[in-house]
Amino acid sequence: MRKTPLFLQHQSANAVMASFAGWQMPMHYGSSVAEHHAVRQSAGMFDVSHMTVCDVRGADALAFCQRVLANDVGQCVIGHAMYTCMLNEQGGVIDDLIAYVMPALTSGQASVQHIRLILNAGTFEQDMAWLREQSQTFEVTLDLPEGLAMLAVQGPQALAICSAVLPAELADGLSSMRPFQTHCASVEGQDWQVATTGYTGEAGVELVVPAAQVMALWQALLGAGVQPCGLAARDSLRLEAGYALYGQDMDQNTSPLVSALGWTIRWQPERDFIGREALLAQKAAGLKEHLLGVILVDRGVLRHGQTLTQAGQTVGVITSGGFSPTRSVGIGLARLQKTVQVGDTVETVVRGKTLSLEVVKPPLIKQGK
């Protein structure tokens, strides 16, 4: 069981720990609902050091990423990031990830030399096996840097607090950053990265910093009033925001086109990315399902795998289920037949009782409500 560089901090903060993808991770620090509210109302921080950082470098860094990723990294200028799926030849999702076109620490860099991929912890083996196999015909190196920690700071006050707390080398540029940008700086001789990305639906940053320096950063953020948040809050936040979770909403056997991820596929300019032919064939055959949001009208909590019916017929299944602390209702994402539309009512049975759900277009909350 692996521990992140912040393990002792979690213990000091009375985290309830559990194992996740081979790592000892904080589930919550007393109340995941309170942590959830903190992110929506002020600022929370998440240890995401368990996720995989893969640095792609070399003359073919761009070409390689344009081949293995379904979104087009070629559309990103240096210092920008992009959310994308990585597909197999059948058009199934191997993982979803963010690709960062990394700035060089010395200025004047014209061409893309370094793309950083941050991938899910649970898919580490399949991701790296796939990337290594596909990289054979490209002039690239794939590096899994050691000694890093990752921290996400999210919420309406996250950027202001980080501007005050982060080293000046990083804080200075923060207020002018737009969403999905990334900066790097050398702090005491070590590389720090900040990106305006996140998984909560709030503004904020994700930081990749040396493990030796993350404990002091955590303490400083704690001192500034940032709430430590665990994986339980991470899940309720992303679900409210309508973000897919790999392994629940999609997997190797699922197409992005039935997972509300069609928008992440970049078709033009024409590019031979892996999975392209399979997706074209799926579109030609006609897609029969789509992924939408559902809100429980009755009291309850939704769970992955619950069957959804309409007029007594099975019409779909809950892929991600949970509870919205913001709205105090059960919410979920569901894969439904295309005949079921936004505004429809569907049913599910929980412990012998039939409950009604409203089908909605994600996100499950709007403007933090």
């Binding site: 309830v16 589930m27 919550h28 109340s31 995941s32 609902v33 339980a232 309720s236 009291r299 309850g300 909590v301 769970r303 949970g322 509870f323 602390p325 105090s328 412990r351």
Partner: protein
């Protein structure tokens, strides 16, 4: 390690039991149980007068993470349920041994109490 009160009795399914007067006991779930469950958002409590036996499911605690039954530690009939939990299920997380109590049972046979775990035995179980 979460709180375990020395004056209470416990079950292997993480309920606690407190002896009140007149053959009545109060039942809830332990601090350990609420911590594992996460924030409780809905509670299904039994009807008053329900007859229960040791190990019978008495209701459901639904958290953001999972739904779990809670069980009768003793044979008897339900004489009261904590109606405050309907509006405020978080009491179970905030005060599991006090305001987060679940039900009261009037027991049939006080000697059944001996079969329950004492604080030390429960500490071993969750330690």
């Amino acid at each position: 390690m979460s709180e375990i009160l020395s004056e209470l009795k416990y079950t292997e399914t993480h309920e606690w039991l407190r002896c009140d007067e007149a053959n009545t006991v109060t039942v809830g779930i332990t601090a350990h149980a609420q911590q594992q469950l996460g924030d409780v958002v809905f509670v299904e409590l039994p009807q008053v007068e329900l007859r229960v036996d040791v190990g019978d499911s008495c209701g459901v605690l639904e958290s953001v993470k999972a739904a779990g039954d809670f069980y009768a530690p003793i044979k008897g009939h339900v004489v009261a349920v904590n109606e405050a939990l309907d509006e405020n299920p978080a009491l179970i997380n905030q005060d599991p041994y006090g305001d987060g109590w679940l039900i009261k049972i009037e027991l049939d046979d006080a000697s059944q109490l001996e079969a329950l775990l004492d604080a030390e035995a429960y500490t071993q179980l969750v330690g």
